[in-house]
Amino acid sequence: MSRIAECFAALQEQGRKALVPYITAGDPNPQVTVPLMHAMVAAGADILELGVPFSDPMADGPVIQKACERALAGGTSLGDVLAMVAEFRQRDQNTPVVLMGYLNPIEIMGYQTFAQQAAAQGVDGVLTVDMPPEEAEPLVMACQEQGLDRIFLLAPTSSPERMEQICALGSGFVYYVSLKGVTGALTLDVDDVGQHVAMIRRHTPLPVGVGFGIRDAESASKVATIADAVVVGSALVKRIEQCQDKPEAIPEEIGALLRAMREAIDATGSA
């Protein structure tokens, strides 16, 4: 069983929902990332989503685009991100780590090389935003051979046929993009999300994570009533941006944000 599957199995036994924070690796500088990963786990994160910075993050909003620009200014490459995961693994063997990003850096490294190195450094899952199932086979095969989970996005615009196809190809969990738009967008219609998640569950036994539009403890707790995992990205990255001049404070600041979400989510679970 993969580390991601084990994590969801354990959470289910405890009747809890997963809290999945996203940060861009190397933002605002490469030294912050590994301590921040540990701080997020200490604050109650179950799975870490580590963004691989890309020069043209088309599916992300301005907050994450700026995070990518800061990380790239600091020289963070895909190879560096893998090294960060290896460093994280020296002290944490349990928390699953998912790499999230765009295809081109992986394409340049080569699918086989990437999958081998990612597995060797302790990565558990891979999510490439701009790789729909139609184009996914080569990378999916490479990841499968190395035991890496393939996490795919589902959108409000996904037809039932696509849901079927995507769920069959994915593993670990599926990630429902809760609204039409880019990361960090505003409104979240919980009833609508609930209906879509219910539809997804008819196609797959995989856990369902929900992201986009979750900005605070309140929205996190609402989503936790519907989904197996709550993904939080832009809200955290925005706080990182506010702290970029005092990066040593970032692990604590982000930890505080996550702890509030953790408590809200757990309160929902026991209700």
Binding site: F54, S55, M58, A59, Y102, P105, M109, T157, S159
Partner: protein
């Protein structure tokens, strides 16, 4: 070409976020339906004739040819189209499609502003809302076109992220599309992006090559020795080339922007100096670093200042059917001055790259050989840029 999933050999395809897959498939189905629909084609033809002003002339540049002392050079006068460039061929087609799909809002990205102007124009004509994304740097160097778009009723949104040029405008337009997929039609201006755009935009632009092929046969009784067109994304080049692909004796030259020189890294020539990768919805040649990050580009011409290229060009390059070369800022300026003074035609700086290569090619050929250069746009929009280089304030 392409195959049913939009592949030109290893290039093309669909590399977008899941949210866009539904809308892209909806577009593909609509396009498949209407491209074979006689009512749609009749409306398109009527608009191309009476609104755009087609057919455009194929003009024999006699004085210029004589001065260069070689092949006879013919100019396909896309600069005479309504709005002043070939871009209108495509936007008329896409706007007709948008209307049939019930979309009420057009969005577009633009570099030099020609595609933005063409989109704003058809939006005005069809009564559609219009938003144009343009790099802040490009807005400055193409101020007259920004004003034109606003006169036409479009909202022009400055893009301040990244390099503030065409690629960033494209990112921003994609973000708008993903947010407003229900009522919005994304009018992509070149033969790049996710399938079906590369094939669809090509089809709308092949009117250039179909006319040119018939015109050269009528005027000279023979096919030309070569075709020359500038390549940014590559829509005017594909439009000219495509109807000649099976005429294997006709050489095809795509001219990229060498900017300050390929060796300086300050250029926009992915086919000459890049490598394959994935960006903006397709796999194609890109300018990228060894980590797969997209590089900033440089060209005097905002319309060529793009780090990628249409996937069909990538395929034609690898297949050896077309040859891709690069011409720098200085050579393009020399061609700008030459055509203006010798033929009385002020060409767009994009087109000047093709003209500059024709200046090199013509003297190596015999006088009974012909070259067709696609004069993809007129230079009115560029006179501020050229004047600034000459130290003149207008």
């Amino acid at each position: 070409m392409p195959d049913e999933r939009g592949h030109f050999g290893p290039y093309g395809g669909r590399f977008v976020a899941e949210t866009l897959m539904g809308p892209i498939e909806e577009l593909r189905q609509a396009y498949e339906r209407y491209r074979n629909d006689s009512g749609f084609q009749a409306e398109l033809e009527a608009d191309l004739a009476h609104y755009v002003g087609r057919p455009t002339p194929l003009y024999f540049a006699k004085r210029w040819s004589e001065q260069l002392g070689g092949a006879r050079i013919f100019l396909k006068r896309e600069d005479l189209n309504h709005t002043g460039a070939h871009k209108i061929n495509n936007t008329v087609g896409q706007a007709l499609l948008a209307r049939r799909m019930g979309k009420t809002r057009l969005i577009a990205e633009t570099g030099a502003g020609q595609h933005g102007v063409a989109t704003a124009t058809v939006a005005a004509r069809f009564g559609l809302e219009c938003v144009i994304y343009m790099g802040a740097e490009d807005m400055e160097r193409q101020a007259p076109n920004v004003y034109r778009m606003r006169l036409l009723g479009a909202e022009v949104v400055p893009v301040t992220s990244g390099s503030q040029t065409l690629k960033d405008a494209l990112n921003e337009a994609m973000r708008d599309w993903v947010t407003h997929v229900d009522n919005t039609f994304y009018v992509i201006g070149t033969v790049a992006g996710p399938h079906p755009y590369p094939a669809m935009v090509r089809d709308f632009q092949t009117i250039i090559g179909r006319e040119a092929r018939a015109q050269i046969l009528e005027q000279t009784g023979a096919l030309p020795h070569a075709l020359v067109a500038c390549v940014g994304g590559g829509s005017n080049a594909i439009g000219l080339f495509h109807p000649f692909l099976k005429d294997e004796q006709v050489a095809l030259y795509g001219v990229e922007a060498a900017g300050l020189g390929l060796e300086t890294g300050q250029h926009a020539a992915p086919l000459c100096a890049g490598k394959p990768g994935v960006l903006h919805g397709n796999r194609t040649y890109l300018m990228e670093d060894k980590h797969g990050q997209i590089l900033d580009t440089h060209s005097l011409s905002a319309g060529l200042d793009y780090p990628g290229v249409g996937p069909e060009h990538a395929w034609l390059r690898d297949a050896g059917r077309a040859t891709y070369v690069a011409v720098g800022d200085e050579e393009a300026l020399a061609a700008f001055r030459a055509l203006t003074r010798i033929e009385g035609i002020i060409p767009a700086l994009e087109s000047c790259h093709a003209l500059a290569y024709a200046m090199q090619l013509a003297p190596t050929l015999a006088q009974d050989q012909g070259i067709i250069v696609n004069l993809s746009g007129r230079g009115d929009k560029d006179i501020n840029t050229v004047a600034r280089i000459e130290g003149i304030s207008l």
